[in-house]
């Protein structure tokens, strides 16, 4: 079955093709024109160059968040149009999970996936590579690097930092308290290839079922304030 994977949650845009789980190719662009101009032409290019037509597609996979509000909408709307038009299933995967699947895969690697979310916060999730695949250790969340640090320390293992928030983490985390390094650049950001790999095994739905997961900062901010308030209340008890 031919699967098209799309990724447009941050600065880069990419499209990838898989046939029965085998990776056929990817086009990725990290700068330049807006995703609305580049994403679907990338998909067309891949289909043409692997001698397929759009009608050969059996599944569309797309990163559904977190990430840029506009970028996610572009990718998801495009995925919906294809799924609806072709009457094929669609599946959404977490951007952070796609990032992990496209990252370093040495057994036991601890992956800290971070996307810049402004206000010194990152969209973040943690993974451990077991049996060649990243296994999720926590849900996707928006968190400050200061709050992330003690959690990373608690695992007592060195961390590999991924995502466009990796440098922020790298420059903020305390080298004296824990070990960490940046993932090699080609493996550091989320990509359509990662989306395609992460999508394996996730139940698909129709175009209608595809929904964005924005992890809004304002909501996350409120939750954070709640957490801080609760901690303060506990301290007063």
């Amino acid at each position: 079955m031919l699967t098209l994977a799309l990724e447009s949650s941050a600065k880069a845009a990419s499209a990838a093709l898989f046939e029965d789980g085998k990776f056929l190719g990817q086009t990725i662009q990290t700068d330049g024109l807006t995703h609305s101009r580049t994403l679907m032409p990338m998909a067309e290019f891949l289909l043409k160059n692997t001698e397929h037509t759009v009608k050969d597609l059996g599944l569309v996979a797309v990163a559904h968040g977190p990430g840029s509000f506009t970028g996610l909408r572009i990718g998801m709307a495009a995925a919906k149009g294809l799924a609806w038009g072709l009457q094929i299933p669609a599946v959404g995967v977490s951007t952070l999970e796609a990032m992990a699947f496209g990252g370093p895969d040495a057994e036991g690697s601890m992956l800290c996936c971070a996307m810049d979310a402004r206000r010194n916060q990152v969209y973040n999730a943690l993974f451990e590579v077991r049996g060649g695949k990243p296994v999720r250790l926590c849900p996707d969340r928006a968190i400050s690097v200061a709050e992330l640090e003690p959690e990373l320390i608690s695992y007592k293992k060195p961390w590999i930092l991924l995502g466009d928030g990796a440098e922020l983490c790298y420059n903020t985390l305390d080298k004296k308290k824990l070990a960490f390094q940046l993932a090699p650049e080609p493996l550091r950001i989320q990509s359509a290839r990662g989306v395609g790999l992460a999508a394996v095994g996730i139940p698909s739905g129709t175009a209608d079922d595809l929904l964005p997961v924005y992890l809004r900062l304002s909501q996350a901010e409120r939750e954070r304030q709640e957490r801080i308030k609760k901690t303060k209340e506990k301290d007063h008890e």
Binding site: F69, T70, R118, Y214, S218
Partner: protein, 150 residues
């Protein structure tokens, strides 16, 4: 039109829409890219006129209309000005739904009318421009904040 300035604050009294535009124009010549300008003031207090002046001051030759219905107007030129109107929005959460965060990432200045409706959404380094009606056509305009002097 008399202007007093102290520290990073500025106060101006205007007696017509044209004068309000002029204050905005002067402000527009000073304001750096990446700034958020939060405008506060009741109906008809001169917010759009001020932004019209800002655009001129920023060197953008564009028709500046009220964004009440469109929510955001983009004025693109040598510099970019993104003109928001939160009149129809219910709160800070809805700010996200209109792509606010992405606008912050674009190079330009964000001017926000009816900032009262989205209190808590700004990060603290924004300029606050407050419009007070002193009479039928006279206004007191107070500008504070940012980390540059105006």
């Amino acid at each position: 039109m008399p202007m007093r300035r102290w520290g990073c604050n500025m106060v101006a009294i205007t007696n017509s829409e044209v004068e309000t535009e002029e204050v905005g124009e002067h402000f527009g010549t000073q304001i750096p890219d990446g700034s958020v300008v939060a405008l506060y003031g009741e109906l008809g207090s001169g917010k759009t006129a001020f932004v019209r002046g800002m655009a001129r001051g920023m060197g953008i030759d564009c028709l500046v209309n009220s964004p009440t219905f469109t929510i955001v107007n983009e004025y693109l030129g040598k510099r970019n000005l993104f003109h928001f109107d939160m009149y129809r929005l219910g709160g800070a959460d809805e700010l996200y739904d209109i792509g606010w965060e992405d606008y912050l990432g674009r190079r330009g200045v964000c001017a926000v009318e009816w900032s009262e409706n989205v209190s808590g959404a700004f990060e603290g380094d924004e300029y606050a421009v407050r419009f007070e009606k002193l009479g039928d056509s006279s206004r007191r305009i107070t500008i504070e904040g940012g980390n540059q002097s105006c």
